[in-house]
């Protein structure tokens, strides 16, 4: 179907097109599955899973749509607005609450058998629970950690830091090297806020306080921000962080220009491919008052208005078999979400992956709250204002907290 589809369309006249008359006659059950594109491997991988599944279940047709992350939410939004949702989709876990509260997401409790449920690592299952109901399954997980360039550390005579003071000193020593920056600081686009949360959490702050109001006006939040700002001002980071998105910071690291970055496991295969001679080490984030890492999960959800829920569920169970999960996690460089895969030797002995996996016990997750994207956007804007020096950190954070509280109270 795929390779000829454009011709099919071309052959159909416009008039027919207007009437929408080119629906292929199929007696099969069709399950539409929207997949977020993690890398160029993602699409082929899921096609493979689907092909294997269809072989076992010839009456079910899995239709996969691969969507880039940046446009995924827009796609789903317009799908929901237009009533053309897929049956299942990978989504960012942070969106789940919105989906659940609007009645878009289907609760999985009815489908989920206790055995199947028990295959998941509890930490990763937790963010998918909304009001006591399981609204989705963790599909991909990663934790964040610090990556350092050991060659640079050696050259600068610095010690790998375990707390923020050491971090600051190491950055100073590293930056003294010619054409080298101690700390690669991300300042724009996706996850700019996360780069700040690393500091916020380890300084003992949190995104939301216990009472649900914004944690950005806490002294810890201020300390976390001031640290970054100071490092920018003292040229311990690359110049103009607001011109560097995640990918560009990592590029600096790959070039050996930056001593320390905060990153995710997916960087490792890239380094192996592009900078095989770079020597690096995975370390936990520097500690302040607390230990923390950012746990990020993506969720596989089912849409409430799907009319092929059973077939979809059958496919989900199939896709969560160990062989497929191993293949997926290894292929994309994710941390395992199921116990069996996590039990593999690889995740304990591999120095890279184990470095990330080590943080899981104390991982923090983005809160599942309504309007999260908007709140994250305010945080990004605030950080950018601070980094650019447009506002003093304290005033900026106060203002941001006030804005977030307004949104929260809506």
């Amino acid at each position: 179907m795929k390779p000829i589809s454009w011709k099919t369309i071309a052959a159909s006249t416009l008039a027919i097109g207007v009437l929408g008359a080119i629906v292929p006659a199929q007696s099969q059950t069709r399950v539409d599955f929207t997949v977020a594109e993690y890398s160029s491997n993602t699409g082929p991988y899921f096609e493979q899973v689907a092909a294997a599944f269809e072989k076992e279940n010839p009456d079910i047709d899995i239709k996969i749509q691969v969507v880039p992350w940046d446009t995924l939410l827009q796609r789903l939004t317009s799908d929901i607005a237009g009533g053309t949702t897929p049956d299942i989709s990978i989504i960012g876990t942070r969106w789940l609450l919105d989906f659940a509260s609007q009645g878009v997401a289907e609760s999985l409790d009815a489908h989920l058998t206790p055995e199947f449920k028990s295959t998941f690592i509890d930490t990763f299952m937790a963010p998918s629970v909304v009001d006591g109901k399981i609204m989705g399954l963790p599909v991909a997980a990663s934790a964040r950690a610090m990556m350092i360039n050991t060659d640079l550390f050696e050259k600068a005579g610095a010690t790998p830091p375990t707390n923020w003071d050491e971090f600051y000193d190491a950055a100073k020593k590293l930056s003294a090297l010619p054409d080298t920056f101690g700390f690669g600081l991300q300042g724009k686009e996706i996850e700019t806020d996360a780069y700040y949360y690393y500091s916020l959490w380890t300084h003992g702050g949190d995104i939301l306080k216990a009472d649900g109001t914004s944690g950005l006006d806490s002294p810890e939040a201020l300390k976390a921000a001031v640290l970054y700002k100071t490092m920018i001002d003292e040229r311990l980071t690359q110049p103009s962080p607001t011109n560097y998105n995640r990918e560009e910071v990592f590029n600096l690291f790959k070039q050996g220009k930056v001593g320390m970055v905060f990153t995710f496991p997916m960087l490792i295969p890239q380094i192996k491919a592009e900078a095989p001679n770079l020597h690096y080490k995975i370390m936990p984030f520097p500690e302040g008052k607390a230990k923390a890492t950012y746990g990020v999960t993506d969720t596989l959800m089912m849409f409430a208005n799907s009319d092929v829920k059973d077939a979809a569920w059958k496919f989900i169970e199939f896709a969560y078999k160990d062989e497929w999960r191993t293949k997926f996690d290894h292929g994309e460089g994710f941390l395992p979400v199921t116990k069996n895969v996590a039990a593999e030797e690889f995740y304990k002995t591999d120095p890279d992956i184990s470095g990330f996996a080590a943080g899981l016990p104390y991982a923090k997750f983005a809160p599942t709250i309504a309007n999260w994207e908007e709140i994250a956007d305010i945080t990004v804007r605030t950080m950018q204002q601070i980094y650019l020096g447009q506002q003093a950190p304290e005033a900026a954070l106060q203002a941001a907290a006030a804005q977030i509280n307004t949104i929260r109270s809506k």
Partner: protein, 277 residues
């Protein structure tokens, strides 16, 4: 007092050169990025030169992305929407040029208004519309919308051109015994071909380059048009393969640029006749 032609030419080229450099800069950039080995993408300080031509980037890009499919999709959408826009615009432009009827002024104002509507402003409503007709993720939804958004301009251009075709020619053909249909097909339309070509090019370029609607209406990778395909390669990835992106833009751009430079004189001629009247 008159400058010699040579002197004038040199002066003009000097005057134009800053602009030309800025125009050619992205093309050079595209090219040198597309053919450089991957490990020379991020060197510091950056430089134009590179160690070897790595034409394999094009092959890799073609294999890794659905570039060929996107190219066909873009062609299909642009050609069909242009054809549709012309088929609908020609009679309308003819009526506006040759007839006098009630509502003519309002119709023109309506067309002008449709020009003001950016697809992005309407994207939500459009999306719901296409959902109702089951056209989401169907390239024909783009054909219809592009045709509709281009029509104002095509009607406008065609009408101005039609005004320059002497009405006597048709009258003479009636005298010669032609009915309206024959007069239209044998006399009028052959004379309007240049205008249709120029107008068609405009419509084609607009459709070829459109981004926002394609991003919204098209869901699956195999239906992507080129701009969306290229954008997907830079948007929100964990890693952007700039050499592939640039190989893609080179392939998407160069053929159009060549055809375009061949046709641009007709565009100017068309503009002289159309657009303003």
């Amino acid at each position: 007092m008159m400058m010699s032609r040579l002197k004038k030419s040199i002066l003009y080229w000097v005057l134009l050169s800053p602009l030309m450099i800025v125009i050619l800069f992205p093309f050079g950039l595209m090219f040198v990025t597309a053919v450089r080995p991957r490990d020379e993408l991020f060197v510091y300080p950056p430089r134009w030169t590179f160690s070897e031509f790595h034409w394999g980037n094009f092959v890799d890009m073609w294999g890794k992305t659905n570039f060929g499919g996107a190219l066909l999709n873009s062609l299909y959408v642009s050609v069909s929407s242009t054809a549709l826009a012309l088929v609908l615009s020609i009679p309308a432009a003819y009526a506006l040029s040759r007839h006098r009827f009630r509502g003519k002024g309002s119709y023109r104002n309506f067309l002008l208004m449709t020009q003001m509507m950016s697809p992005i402003v309407l994207v939500l409503g459009l999306f719901r519309l296409m959902v109702q007709f089951g056209l989401v993720n169907n390239l024909n939804s783009l054909v219809l919308t592009y045709a509709a958004f281009n029509m104002a301009f095509t009607i406008w251009m065609l009408q101005s051109y039609f005004n320059t075709i002497p009405r006597e020619l048709e009258e003479a053909s009636w005298m010669d015994g032609a009915n309206h249909f024959v007069s239209l097909t044998k006399i009028f339309l052959p004379l309007a071909v240049p205008a249709m070509v120029v107008t068609g090019i405009f419509s084609f370029i607009n459709s070829w380059n459109e981004f926002v609607l394609a991003l919204t209406m098209i869901r699956s990778t195999e239906n992507y048009t080129l701009p969306v395909q290229i954008f997907a390669q830079v948007a929100g990835r964990y890693q952007i393969e700039w050499h592939h992106v640039m190989a893609g833009t080179v392939l998407a751009t160069v053929p159009v640029a060549i055809v375009f430079s061949w046709l641009q004189r007709y565009l100017i001629r068309g503009m002289a006749l159309g657009a303003v009247k």
